[in-house]
Every structure is written in C-alpha cells, then in structure tokens.
C-alpha cells in the first residue's frame, strides 16, 4: 500500500519563459513509515517534488496520489494538506503568530476546529515536544532550532501522517541543527513518513531510502550508503559529497580493508578497527 505515488509526473512552471521542465516523467512510490532523503543540485527539481506532495503544486502531466487521493482534484485539498505537512528552510518565514501556543494553533484554526479541541491538541503537542516553558514566548526570542521546532509543532498539531522537510537545517547552527534532527528522528521512530530534502550529506545517512535528482529526473533510487560508493566523477556530477568518514572507509576498501556495510558513525569504525585481524 503506497502512501505517496508519483506516476509519470512532469512539472513545468507556468511563468517559465523557456519551457524548463522542473520535473520530467518522474515515477516513484513512498511507503508509509519510510524515511526518504532527496538530494540534487539547486535546480534539480527537489523543491518542486516536495511541493507536489501536499498540493502546493499540481502536476502538468501525470498524477500524484496521496493516501489514495489524487492531487488533481480540488476537493481533496484540505484532507491532503492535513495528511502531508511541510517544513521549509527559513523558520522565521513560516511563523505568523505572536506566541508559541498561538502558532501551534494556527493550522487548527484554519481547519475550523472548535476552541476546546484546539486547546487540547496544543497542550498535547507542547508536552510531547517539551515546549511548556516556551508557551507564551514570542517567536523572536527563540533560537533558530527552537523556531524550527515550533514550525514542526505547528504542523504536528494537524496530525499528519507524513511531513516533507525542505532543507530544514541549512540555515541553523550546529546546536540548533542537532535539536531539530533529534526531533525528526523521534517522529520517524513513532511511525511518521518523512520526506527529507537536503544537501547536508551527514543527514542523508539517517534515511532508509535515497532519491537523487538531476535536471528533473531521478538518477538514483536506493540505499544512501550505496550511493556513496560511486566513483568520484559520478559523485561530483550528482552533487554528492560523501562525509569524510565514508570517504575514509572507501579508501580503506581500496587498500584491502573491507569495512562492513552499514557503518555510519566513527565509533562503529574505530570499534571495527580495534577488533580487526
């Protein structure tokens, strides 16, 4: 049972003068509970792909079906947007309210949910995400990571089954980034389907599945670690820069030290090396 299905999707931006296709004949499936990372150069189509998932855009050709609902049908707008939430790159440019709790309530207010139910859901989310002490705080007094957590909380309040993250940590400092990644990891563990668009290589390693886009087409679909074993020229072409750890392991492989597949932390590597015979 697919959660999201892209069926021969092509997308062309209407204002584009020279008919550039952002996506060309793209087909893939996302299973419920999967963590899919999406990478590619800036104009590879990855942002377009993300926006097609929650009906911010609808395909020029082909179809996108979310939980059995075709995004081409306008009636499905609210149900699809409730099921698939989106988090964007700049946390400041997503927050509209004057306090944390008001922001979390925003989406629910749009869905015309009655006030007592809104209050209940806001309290639940605030507790789950450990934001109780920040409830009345105005957004400009939050750190970058806290702001992004607030955006996630605001989306979570709408009880989605899937969240699309479009480069959510690229403007954050390392501490904020860790905070956000921890939260996303927690969500995935609880069963959230995650679509994660990024150019930060270490983050790709969190995913079950990796899609590489190039000029609007999918050029790779598979395990993230497999992608890093391409030759240098291909990696450069795909805008993939393996983290130093992976590079080191690749070179060790070339020298005859066959590190087992699936190692993604330095601890795993050093443990392996210390036991190596």
């Amino acid at each position: 049972m697919n959660f999201i299905r892209f069926d021969h999707v092509t997308y062309q931006y209407p204002e584009a003068e020279d008919a550039i296709f952002a996506l060309r004949d793209v087909s893939f499936d996302i299973q419920p509970g999967q963590f899919v990372a999406i990478v590619g150069a800036n104009s590879s189509g990855k942002t377009t792909l993300g926006r097609l998932c929650n009906m911010l855009l609808t395909p020029t050709e082909g179809s996108v079906v979310v939980a059995g609902m075709d995004t081409a049908q306008a009636d499905y707008l609210y149900p699809i947007r409730s099921k698939v939430g989106m988090i964007f790159q700049n946390p400041d440019n997503q927050i509209v309210s004057t306090t944390v709790e008001e922001e979390i309530a925003f989406g629910l207010e749009n869905l015309q949910i009655p006030s007592p139910e809104i209050k209940r859901r806001v309290s639940t989310i605030v507790q789950e995400m450990d934001l109780e002490s920040l409830r009345d705080r105005p957004p400009h007094l939050l750190s970058g990571g806290q702001k992004q957590l607030l955006c996630i909380a605001s989306v979570l309040a709408m009880e989605p089954s899937c969240i699309v993250f479009d480069e959510p940590t690229s403007l954050l400092d390392p501490i904020s980034r860790k905070l956000v990644l921890q939260q996303i990891h927690k969500l995935h563990k609880k069963g959230m389907t995650v679509l994660y668009i990024t150019h930060i290589m270490e983050e790709i390693l969190m995913a079950d599945q990796l899609l590489i886009l190039k000029k609007g087409e999918i050029v790779f679909e598979g395990n993230p670690i497999d992608a890093f074993s391409f030759d240098d020229a291909t990696l450069y072409d795909y805008h993939l820069y393996p983290p130093q750890l992976i590079q080191i392991m690749n070179r060790l492989h070339e020298s005859g030290v066959k590190t087992p597949k699936g190692m993604v932390t330095t601890k795993q590597l050093t443990d392996y090396l210390c036991q190596y015979k």
Binding site: A41, N42, S143, S170, L171, D173, P174, I175, H199, M201, Y236, H239, Y241, P243, Q244, L245, Q247, I248, R251, L252, S255, V257, T266, K267, L269, T270, L273, C274, Y276, K277
Partner: protein
C-alpha cells in the same frame, strides 16, 4: 602592524537589568599570520569580538584594543581608516546588496572611504577577479539577477574593493551547498596568498576551519578556552567535546585509535593522511599479534 587585544571585556547594557557580559578578559594578537580561525557557538562572544576589530563596537577601557598602534578607546574623528583597514564580511552578506548594477555596488565602499574616482575602477575590477568573476561579464548586471553563490561573491568583493589589510569573515560558507562551500574556501585561500592579507574566519564548522586555518582560537562562554596551531588544538579531543564542538571525523577516529596505540599521530585532518595513519595502525597491530 597587528590588531592587539589586551584583556578586553565587554558588557552589553551595562548597569541595566538585562546586562550581558559578552566578552571576558580576551587577549589575542592578530598579525601577519595567514589565516586565523575563531571557533565558537552562538553566544560564545565571537560576533561581539569581531565587531571590535573594525570599531563597530568601541572598547569600554583604555589599552584594550590597539589597531596599528592606535588605541580605539575614546578615539576622535572619523573611523573610515579603520573600516578600510579591517574589512568585515557579515553572515549572509548577500542580504546587504542594494545597488542597480554590480559596478555601483562595488564602488559604494570605496566612495564612502573617499578613495578618488580614478582609482575606483581598477579596484573594483581587481576585486571581482579575486572572487573569480569576470569583470566584463558582471559589472553591468543587476546584483538581483545573480544566483545565490554569485551574490555572495559580490558581497565579499564589496569589502575587497576597499583594499583592506585584514579580512574578517563571519561564517563565510553559511547556507551554501558542499560544492559552493569547497569553492569558496579555496577562493579564500587564494585571496589570502594573492593579497598577502591576514584573514580571520569565524565559524562553528570545525571541518571548515580545520581546512584553511593555521592558528585557531576556541571561544566559549565569552572566553578563549583553547588556542594554538590548528592541529594542536584539534588534537585536544576531550576538551573540544566538553565544549560541545564537533571535532572533524578524521580527528575523532585518530584520537580514539591513539588511546589504544600511542604511536598514532594526529597530524592530519584530510582523508588521505588519515587513511594512511589508519593503515599504519593496522600494520602495527598485525605485527603485535605476530604470525
């Protein structure tokens, strides 16, 4: 002609309820040293520190900052000379672009400093070349039609056009993808060599700092906690971990192996060197197990 900092302290909103001590007793000398790195998280004081370098923040005591021998405490007159000497590039500098053409944009700084018109043209051409952009291709274009990476280069060229002796860059690669990041760092290395200026890079990305700096200051909680040649500082793995800094992976690996085999040298931050070191480690290990 160094930037000399002696026991510099700084408190925001001194005397008010919400006063904040941003710098505590900082001492450092910035002179002809190639590329210097200042590492620290937000709130460590690094932003406050660099704003002292070019006089955006003036010292609260005598003899705490001297630039080229001039004490910045209660200094009289215009600070144009200081803005020229110490070029400061802020985070996401592309946000400051405002002129209609790249040419006007680059001329803005020099004009403000009173540099004569006849010299400006060659200055801006040179600064564009320094950042790797062809003057004839870019001078007449509007900055707003350029890509993100190009805009950033123009913003850096803005400062280079003022022909500074010191170039201070606050998180120069923030928000850039890996390709653009690598390019920019290489560019900075080139600029340093070509112009023979002192470059200070402020960053929380240790890998980045490791790849270009020769000398490093690590700041935390408004103080300098560690300083020294880059590799020396980076080999203090435990101290850096306590400061919540992400040590680059090669150093993490080599530090852990060094605990088991003291002969492991933490001399490298690059992949090649680290791999060699690991292979030597394994050789020695195999030797000990004997056959």
């Amino acid at each position: 002609m160094p930037i000399q900092i002696n026991h510099l302290s700084f408190t925001y909103d001194k005397g008010l309820v919400y006063e904040k001590e941003a710098l505590k007793d900082i001492t450092m000398t910035i002179s002809d040293q190639g590329i210097i790195g200042i590492i620290g998280h937000s709130g460590s004081g690094k932003s406050t520190l660099i704003q002292h370098f070019n006089g955006l923040i003036l010292p609260q005591k005598k003899n705490t900052i001297l630039v080229d021998g001039t004490d910045l405490y209660k200094t009289e007159g215009s600070l144009s000379w200081l803005r020229k000497k110490v070029g400061l590039v802020f985070q996401y500098p592309e946000n400051q672009l405002f002129e209609e053409t790249v040419e006007k944009e680059l001329a803005f700084g020099p004009k403000n400093l009173g540099i004569p018109e006849k010299d400006i043209s060659s200055l801006i051409r040179h600064s564009l070349e320094l950042v790797g952009l062809q003057p004839n291709e870019y001078l007449h274009r509007s900055p707003f039609t350029l890509s993100g990476g190009e805009k950033r280069k123009i913003a850096i060229a803005d400062i280079l056009a003022m022909n500074p002796s010191y170039l201070v860059l606050d998180e120069p690669t923030a928000g850039l993808d890996p390709v653009a990041r690598k390019e920019l760092l290489e560019n900075i290395l080139q600029i340093q060599k070509q112009q023979n200026m002192t470059v200070v890079i402020v960053s929380h990305d240790m890998e980045e700092v490791a790849s270009v700096s020769e000398y490093v200051y690590v700041m935390s909680e408004s103080e300098i906690k560690v300083q020294g040649p880059t590799l020396d500082v980076f080999s203090q793995y435990n101290t850096l971990r306590e400061l919540l800094l992400d040590v680059p992976e090669p150093i993490q690996i080599l530090s852990t192996l060094q605990k088991v085999d003291p002969e492991v040298c933490i001399r490298h931050v690059d992949v090649q060197g680290t791999t060699k070191e690991i292979l030597s480690f394994l050789e020695r290990k195999r030797g000990h197990c004997g056959v």
